[in-house]
């Protein structure tokens, strides 16, 4: 906050936060059940979208693996609690840990690549997870998916009750949101943006670009994994469809809708995407075409406000591609820049 903020402004902010908080907490008591269901879905999809938005916006890393990690965590939780019958909290903890291990492996492979190449590489890696889910039938039940996962009942409180589930999810959502925001404002965030803008320069300055990007990648894996565990406990089912190409693209679209890098915008993005589906499918079977066209228009014309960040990202992509030629002669012939 700047020195210019005055007492009335601070009071107004506090009041707004308080009102918003009360409204959010009160949802279960007056919102019709199907709308509470929708809010819950918005929250966990938004967490997944935030992980991508953070990586893409702060790090220039459009990671199409996040959906795969979301699905992996969901599958791990389902398999551990239903097939191995482990009691709470083991399935949850192991699922989260396992997802981080996968993120580490994928991260190590991909953090040395940039831009579009990073995008298609993470896409392929994410689809490895889809392939495993679809084909390793003896473990994942393949095409059928796994039914029956439920939130636990702890100390007499049933988290299968939508209200209780919602409150826990809301707290976790806010925690992820503030965590990512804190990283954005931290020295790591600054360094990350540096690697986004010119990793060559950062390297020349003595930063370990690989380590910075890997750390960011691992941090982003956390909301994605958590979202996956909430998803499977709420919906009760996990199938390979949850990690497929269409879903991956859907999350990308949401991030762009909400503004790349704009964490809170992901909520708006998910909301619009869900409503879009409900509305469009009422009029036509060509929902996917409508989605594609919307995507197209969004990318081409970048409506003001939400997608201002796309402009920024474009500039950063270009600047990085030309970055090599602006560096000292020892970096190699001009134009042969990575991208």
């Amino acid at each position: 906050m700047t020195a210019r903020s005055s007492l009335p402004r601070t009071l107004l902010t506090v009041a707004l936060v308080a009102v918003a908080g009360v409204v959010l907490l009160s949802f279960p008591s007056w919102l019709p059940p199907y709308y509470l269901t929708t809010v819950i879905r918005i929250l966990f999809y938004s967490m997944l979208a935030m992980s991508l938005s953070f990586l893409a916006g702060q790090g220039g890393m459009v990671s199409l693996t996040q959906t795969g990690l979301f699905g992996f965590a969901a599958y791990a939780l389902a398999i551990l609690s239903l097939h191995y019958k482990l009691p709470f909290p083991y399935p949850l903890l192991i699922a989260l840990a396992g997802t981080l291990v996968v993120a580490l492996a994928f991260g190590l492979i991909s953090i040395r690549t940039y831009g579009t190449y990073f995008l298609i590489l993470t896409l392929a890696l994410g689809q490895i997870l889809w392939a495993i889910a679809q084909q390793w039938t003896s473990v994942t039940e393949g095409f059928d998916g796994i039914q029956g996962t439920r939130a636990p009942i702890l100390g007499g409180i049933s988290f299968q009750e939508p209200a209780n589930f919602y409150w826990v999810l809301l707290v976790v959502f806010l925690a992820c949101f503030f965590l990512l925001r804190a990283v954005v404002r931290s020295p790591l965030g600054l360094a990350l943006r540096g690697t986004r803008d010119s990793h060559v320069r950062m390297s020349a300055l003595g930063f370990s670009v690989a380590r910075i990007r890997l750390t960011a990648f691992m941090i982003a894996a956390v909301p994605a994994a958590l979202a996956g565990t909430f998803f499977v406990q709420f919906t009760g089912i996990i199938t390979p469809v949850t990690l497929d190409l269409e879903r991956t693209v859907w999350i990308l679209l949401i991030v762009i809708l909400g503004g790349v890098g704009n964490l809170g915008g992901t909520v708006i993005g998910v909301f619009i995407a869900l409503m879009f589906e409900v509305v469009v499918t009422r009029f036509t079977d060509r929902y996917l075409t409508a989605m594609g066209i919307t995507f197209l228009l969004l990318v081409l014309f970048a409506p003001n406000g939400i997608t201002g960040a796309i402009e920024g990202l474009k500039r950063r992509f270009d600047r990085r591609r030309r970055g090599a030629s602006e560096v000292a002669p020892t970096a190699g012939p001009p134009g042969r820049g990575p991208s």
């Binding site: 936060v17 918003a20 919102l31 199907y34 879905r41 095409f143 059928d144 469809v241 079977d285 060509r286």
Partner: protein, 438 residues
């Protein structure tokens, strides 16, 4: 900036308020209408099934003039895109927002199991009009979920029996799609086959989807078997059958199929040599019984194409529901509706009469069919009818359900490895040859 976060939360909260206000604008759920919801894949690659189910439903509703007991019938259609998560979400919506009395659908096994899972918690009556996992009406059965269609094993048990006893095959090589519905089809086939004196059903599973079967075809031993059975459907079946023919395998072994391998909608894509393929199901599109002809003619007149199994099953689901409602005093009495549905007896169903067993699954005719070419088109023709086939086959329900669930490795490939109590059963099947489609 703290303020922007607050604004965002406010936006979220306001959105919530708006959402909350929407029901006031949405159609009010009049307690005077009877509301049915259909969940089916109306978009996406399986849209053909969604279309069939919609057409079957609408035909039935139109015949009833959208009225039952003097009240209007409101029909909702929700798209599942063959995805369990979406199907559950839509089912929730149909229940919590549209307040439907009963849900009909869905198509695939996985989606059926997902909806079952939800229905168990929500208590909404569901009529499974195509989804075939047997546990929906066996080990996982729930009072409010009934089925008017079939289980995976149901047509295959008599089929396996017939293949061993009538065709005299003793050794079958089976290649199938690696998921639960083919497992169940394989299980039923093996049981019937082994009881009738078969020796072995070598079972190989392939990932879904597979476009190129050359590897699998290469591994089939050229001697030592009597037939190959392809246990898959859709694009996999088309590819397999065509490649089977192209690799000259028809000269080595005849080809049998699972219930959906020679599905009406896929036959046009198959090579003409597919004629002669044999399969079994509770439906055959060339039946000539008066009930079926009436249904088929009405369907052709309404929609311009011949009905497939999914269409007939949804049609009978709707008729079954409306007839059940006609017996009720108050259709808002959920328990009474469930009881009426479970007591269904529908002797004039187009495909052949059926009634529900105590686990709410139909007992009905199974038709063994052969693919024939007529006027350049491939079609299934019924050659044998097996009446009164239940999901348990000839087994006592308790004995059947005590067995492990059909899985990748169960039942065993070799009939000698079967538990004796599964082989030593009194046979109940009657194999009646069909002539002229009856």
């Amino acid at each position: 900036m703290r303020r922007s976060i607050a604004l965002r939360f406010l936006a979220l909260a306001l959105a919530g308020l708006v959402l909350g206000g929407l029901p006031a604008l949405a159609q009010s759920s009049e307690s005077e209408t009877f509301r049915i919801g259909l969940i089916a894949p109306t978009t996406g690659p399986f849209a053909a099934f969604g279309q069939m189910q919609t057409e079957g439903s609408v035909l039935a509703l139109e015949q009833f003039e959208y009225t039952v007991k003097g009240h209007r019938v409101v029909f909702f259609i929700e798209d599942t895109r063959l995805n369990g998560e979406i199907a559950v979400d839509k089912s929730r919506k149909l229940d919590e927002e549209d307040r439907v009395h009963v849900i009909v659908g869905p198509t695939s096994g996985g989606v059926g199991l997902s909806v079952l899972d939800w229905a168990r918690d929500s208590g909404v009556p569901v009529v499974m009009s195509y989804s075939a996992p047997e546990d929906i009406t066996m080990r996982l059965a729930v009072e409010n979920v009934v089925r008017n269609s079939w289980t995976g094993a149901q047509p295959m048990d008599p089929f396996g029996y017939w293949v061993a006893s009538e065709l005299g095959y003793k050794r079958i090589y089976m290649i199938g799609e690696d998921y639960s519905y083919p497992y169940n089809q394989a299980g039923g086939f093996k049981r019937g086959f082994c009881r009738a004196g078969g020796e072995v059903v070598t079972t190989i599973w392939h990932p879904v989807p597979t476009e190129d079967y050359s590897s699998f075809l290469a591994r089939i031993p050229r001697t030592g078997y009597d037939a190959v059975l392809y246990n898959g459907a859709g694009s996999d079946a088309v590819a397999f059958v065509n490649q089977y023919i192209e690799f000259g395998m028809l000269d080595v072994y005849p080809l049998l199929g699972q219930s959906n391998t020679f599905e009406q909608g896929d036959l046009p894509a198959m090579l003409h040599e597919a004629a002669g393929g044999i399969s079994a199901m509770q439906y055959v599109e060339t039946l000539q019984t008066p009930e079926f002809v009436a249904f088929r003619d009405a369907y052709v007149e309404r929609w311009g194409r011949t009905p497939a199994a999914a269409a007939e099953h949804t049609y009978t689901a709707i008729v079954m529901i409306l007839r059940a409602v006609e017996t009720l005093e108050d259709f808002n009495d959920r328990d009474a509706l469930i009881a009426a549905l479970r007591a269904t007896d529908y002797p004039d169903a187009p495909r052949g009469g059926f009634y529900l067993d105590e686990y709410a699954n139909p007992v009905h005719n199974i038709y063994i069919r052969e693919v024939r070419e007529v006027d350049g088109k491939l079609m299934n023709f019924g050659i044998v009818r097996v009446p009164e086939v239940s999901q348990f086959g000839p087994y006592d329900p308790a004995l059947y359900m005590a067995q492990p669930v059909d899985a990748r490795n169960y039942p065993p490939d070799a009939c000698a490895d079967f538990p004796p109590e599964m082989l030593d059963v009194e046979e109940v099947y009657e194999f009646i040859p069909m002539a002229d489609g009856r």
